[in-house]
Amino acid sequence: MKLNRKDILGIQELSVEEINLILETADSFIEVSTREIKKVPTLRGKTVINLFYEASTRTRTSFEIAGKRLGADTINISASTSSVVKGETLIDTARNLEAMNPDVIVIRHAAAGAPHMLAGLLRQSIINAGDGAHEHPTQALLDLMTIRAKKGGIAGLKVAIVGDIAHSRVARSNIHGLTKMGAAVIVAGPATMIPRGIEKMGVVVHTQIEEAIREADIIMMLRIQTEREQQNIFPSLREYAQYFSLNRGNIGLARKDVLIMHPGPMNRGVEISPDIADGPHSIILDQVTNGVAVRMALLYLLTGGVS
């Protein structure tokens, strides 16, 4: 069995078989991170570059740990400390990195499509670690892996995604992934945060959190991007919290065994109350643990093998 592609750019283009292969491979990698010696020699001699034009804690660390546990050399470049501040273009930076002969380039960029441009330009495997409001495929894969592990499957589940759908690459990738795997997806948020035409992606839209989470198996809360308060898409954090936060008052509408997810970083007290984030239904830290395994799986499946 083989993942027959050079790059991982989005969930949209992945088939159900490919997603299953990635998730099954990731399941097997969980065990490596529980060993006393958390390292295998699989990618010895391979080089992985993490090229991050946007801030990140989880994704960048997760890719770095994934590479290192597989025995690869991982290098991190963040825009703020690189020649980007001297005005180097993305293409020039990429060509220079290519000249040093890495095997995989992981990129996060504020411009949607940036990873796709690199994929066409470079011979290396490109993994999209988030491009604008477009896709964040590794987040969706780790979410699918976590749901599958906790619920035994994905098909037939009711999943509510609540928050700023319009600006969320996590929501977009998850909608692609969840619908492909047979889940029913409901999105909810203030009207200014619901993109027009989102129904075409196969989701049901609600403008109130209470309707969205009713009988839900999974609730995925999105980070409210506080930097957008200035853009007049919501009046205040306080009002947002009042109408769209997940808290003790409304969680009872969901199923008794509901699982709560959040891609991080959380705004405690805004989109999610602390007692819910830390409560028995929360699988937020399982998501982080599984993130390493999913990224190990992708690095493993994309590298090696002479063409």
Partner: protein, 179 residues
């Protein structure tokens, strides 16, 4: 044309495993510090059977681990097809244990090299011993088995396949000649 020859039947396999179980106990003077580790997939089923036999003889169970050697293969960089990754599950410490590795067929020895590297990443066993149901020769590394079900000199054009009830529905060892 394909020619099939059965070289070991269900009773033959069972008798070999019974003998090997006694040999393992004799060499290790009982089950003290003894653990079995089966190599995915065929070795796992054989290791489970050996564990049953050993615990019947000694009246005491011993730990059994499962090892997938894919991540330690030496051909990952050269082969185009990525092998499907299996599960590894060794939920006990290997430090100071007498580890008996179990596989179905010993051929080039490369799988065993990978398995030994993997085991040593889990701890420092007191010893590693090797059990195989079939030794078909053609070693490419200096490796030999401590306990062998059957030595089966084979040509490189033959395929040796160990079928087990747990995965193929019946117990037999067959040699298939391609050509």
């Amino acid at each position: 044309m394909e020619k099939k020859k059965i070289v070991m039947d269900a009773e033959g396999i069972d008798r070999s495993l019974t003998r090997i179980a006694y040999e393992i106990l004799e060499k290790n003077k009982g089950v003290e510090k003894l653990v079995l580790v089966g190599i995915q997939t065929g070795g796992v089923f054989l290791a489970e059977r050996l564990r049953r036999k050993i615990s019947e003889i000694e009246g005491r169970g011993i730990p059994l681990g499962i090892l997938d050697i894919t991540l330690y293969r030496d051909d990952l960089q050269t082969s185009h097809l990525k092998p499907r990754l299996g599960k590894t599950d060794i939920s006990f410490s290997l430090n100071d244990k007498k580890v008996v590795l179990v596989d179905d067929v010993l051929f080039t020895g490369r799988t065993i090299r990978a398995a030994m590297d993997a085991l040593i990443d889990f701890g420092r066993p007191r010893s590693i011993q090797l059990t195989v149901l079939i030794d078909r020769g053609h070693r490419e590394l200096p490796i030999r088995a401590d306990f062998v079900g059957k030595n089966l000199p084979s040509s490189l054009w033959e395929a040796v396949s160990v079928d087990l009830t747990e995965k193929n529905g019946r117990d037999e060892v067959v040699v298939v000649l391609n050509g």
